[in-house]
């Protein structure tokens, strides 16, 4: 089994993707929802690259119905096949992939149990994606589970259910790829992290995406939201991160000087009356352009030579870290992609209509 291989793939906003993705969970984050959605569509064989090759176990999924049958995916848009009712459409999808599962159970899992008799055309895009997510997660044994924004697929499935489904398939040894603008709900899971930026796919620079800074502190408090509100005005900080789902009692605070950050947090907490339980440094200062360390490994030594952006992800075949292990916090300044000409930005739309995003229309950038 050779995993999922992207060999010089370009398509739409994807300028060049070279990657080998093995079994286990891989998170792909990025700024462009269009590019992320296209990446998943290429993996699922729903789209074909303009140039380059996509191979799942040495076979092009776009050209192989058998390979597509073994792939469970959630795309940006998920129209159902035409059928007299939603239930019949789901029945047809299950039959198409040779699945003897119950269509009723899939509908219940997606929160659309009461919509069985509706016509497929009556479902809105959010309901369609909710159903597609339930279909993908209910696949009995996919070789590849590729999901685009699974936490923004309607209200039918709770984040815990989605996370459990992802974890279950990854633990089975399937290749599981989740592509999303923000992968925060999955941060607690051990995963290979990739980042899609400027049309290139490379090792993720930071679990925290856009938050920059050479140092960070994890502040545990019972009132994280009040603390965040108080901290955001502080000029001495470069960023504040709070994730209500992944780490409800923690606030990550970023800056350039550890002592100054600690002093600021203490002062602001005291002034605003927010009780602090603990303050722990989470990173060592890393040089500009340093590569992200492998998850579970110690932070890189000072002055480590970074691999080029767009380099292959961690070697395929390496044992993945245990599930549930906290990923090594890592923060690094943003390196520039080599060879990234300024005019390439024109192929990366800054806004686009995406009904699956919570905002309902724009990626907000």
């Amino acid at each position: 089994m050779s995993g999922l291989v992207f060999d010089g793939v370009s398509a739409g906003p994807l300028l060049r993707v070279d990657a080998r993705i093995g079994p286990g969970l891989t998170l792909v984050s990025g700024e462009s929802p269009t590019a992320l959605a296209l990446l998943i569509a290429l993996m699922a064989g729903a789209e074909r690259p303009r140039s380059g090759r996509v191979r799942l176990e040495e076979v092009d999924p776009h050209q192989s119905p058998e390979q597509r049958r073994r792939t469970a995916a959630l795309l940006a848009r998920e129209p159902l096949p035409p059928a007299p009712s939603v239930l019949r459409a789901v029945e047809r999808v299950l039959a198409a992939r040779g699945d003897s599962g119950s269509p009723g159970a899939v509908l219940e899992a997606s929160g659309l149990g009461s919509s069985a008799s509706r016509r497929p055309a009556e479902l809105d895009p959010s309901e369609e994606r909710s159903l597609a997510l339930a279909l993908a997660l209910s696949h009995p044994s996919p070789h590849l589970l590729a999901l685009y924004e699974p936490f923004h697929a309607g209200n039918g499935m709770t984040p815990d259910t989605v996370r459990d489904g992802i974890r279950r398939h990854a633990a089975r040894g399937a290749i599981v790829v989740v592509a999303a603008v923000g992968v925060a709900p999955l941060r607690a899971l051990a995963a290979t992290r990739l980042e899609l930026r400027g049309g290139f796919l490379g090792a993720a620079r930071s679990d925290l995406g856009l938050f920059r800074g050479s140092v960070s502190l994890r502040v545990r408090t019972a009132e994280p939201k009040r603390l965040v509100k108080a901290l955001v005005e502080e000029a001495s900080l470069t960023g504040v991160h709070f994730d209500d789902i992944a780490a409800p009692g923690s606030v990550l605070v970023f800056g350039t000087d550890l002592e100054l950050v600690a002093e600021t947090v203490t002062r602001v907490a005291e002034a605003s009356g927010v009780p602090i339980e603990s303050i722990v440094p989470t990173t060592m200062p890393v040089p500009h352009g340093a590569a992200p360390p492998p998850h579970g490994a110690a932070p890189p030594p000072h002055g480590a030579v970074p691999p080029p952006y767009g380099a292959a992800p961690p070697p395929y075949g390496a044992a993945p870290p245990p599930y549930g292990a906290a990923p090594q916090p890592y923060v690094a300044p943003l390196p520039e992609a080599p060879g990234r000409a300024p005019d390439q930005s024109v192929s990366m739309p800054t806004t686009f209509a995406d009904p699956t995003r919570p905002s309902g229309g724009s990626d907000g950038r």
Binding site: A46, H62, R68, P79, A83, V93, A96
Partner: protein
């Protein structure tokens, strides 16, 4: 299995009221004009009905409408995508879908020919029954040929189909070499009108059947696996 899914797609799409309403409207128009032609001048009333309103004007539009009901402005590969991505062969799905559509168009064309003959011919005429039969199978062959033409047009979506209709209208109206590969000219020839490059009705029938198979086959082979 994929072929069956393609056929089911057509059957589901044609279950709506629109295609039936269109058929009824087309048949009614042909029947009324057939009766008018018969009343005006009984000689060659059937030919005028067939060449004029039935297969000269309404049939190509009716078959286009049937394709639109199933395709909804999309390409064939786009409408089979929801099942193809779950593991069905695109080519087999397209074969099932376009084959079924060709069958539907053939039945519809046959019925249209029958209605035209019934409404415009006198039941007391010597060749009434043979004419009915000829109009029915001739109409079926014409319907299938248009399905082949629109199957090729469906490689580009709605505009492809409309372009095929326009090209057929422009080039198929003649009787020279340029008219040879079009259903319109061969339909006229098959139904006893002006032949294309002086060829026989048998040749016209062969071309119509060839257009059906070639069109569907080309559309199927152009689809990825």
């Amino acid at each position: 299995m994929s072929v069956v899914f393609g056929a089911l797609h057509v059957s589901d799409a044609l279950r709506s009221r629109t295609p039936w309403l269109l058929q009824v409207l087309a048949f009614t128009a042909v029947a009324v004009l057939g009766v008018v032609e018969q009343a005006r001048d009984a000689a060659y009333a059937t030919e005028r009905t067939l060449f004029g309103v039935a297969f000269g004007f309404l049939a190509p539009l009716l078959f286009l409408a049937l394709f639109e009901v199933v395709h909804r402005k999309d390409r064939t590969t786009a409408i089979i995508a929801p099942l193809a991505r779950h593991g069905q062969s695109r080519r087999a799905l397209a074969a099932g879908l376009l084959g079924s559509l060709a069958l539907v168009c053939a039945v519809s064309g046959g019925a249209l020919g029958l209605v035209a003959a019934l409404s415009s011919a006198s039941p007391t005429a010597a060749r009434f029954v043979p004419d009915l039969v000829a109009c029915a199978w001739g109409g079926a062959a014409i319907g299938a040929a248009y399905a082949g033409l629109y199957a090729v047009g469906s490689l580009w979506g709605r505009w492809g189909r409309v372009a095929m209709l326009a090209i057929d209208w422009v080039f198929g109206s003649g009787a020279g070499y340029a008219a040879l590969p079009f259903p319109r000219s061969n339909a006229r020839s098959l139904l006893g009108g002006e032949p294309v490059i002086d060829s026989s009705q048998l040749v016209a029938l062969a071309i119509l059947l060839g257009l059906t198979f070639a069109g569907v086959l080309l559309a199927v082979l152009r689809a990825p696996r």
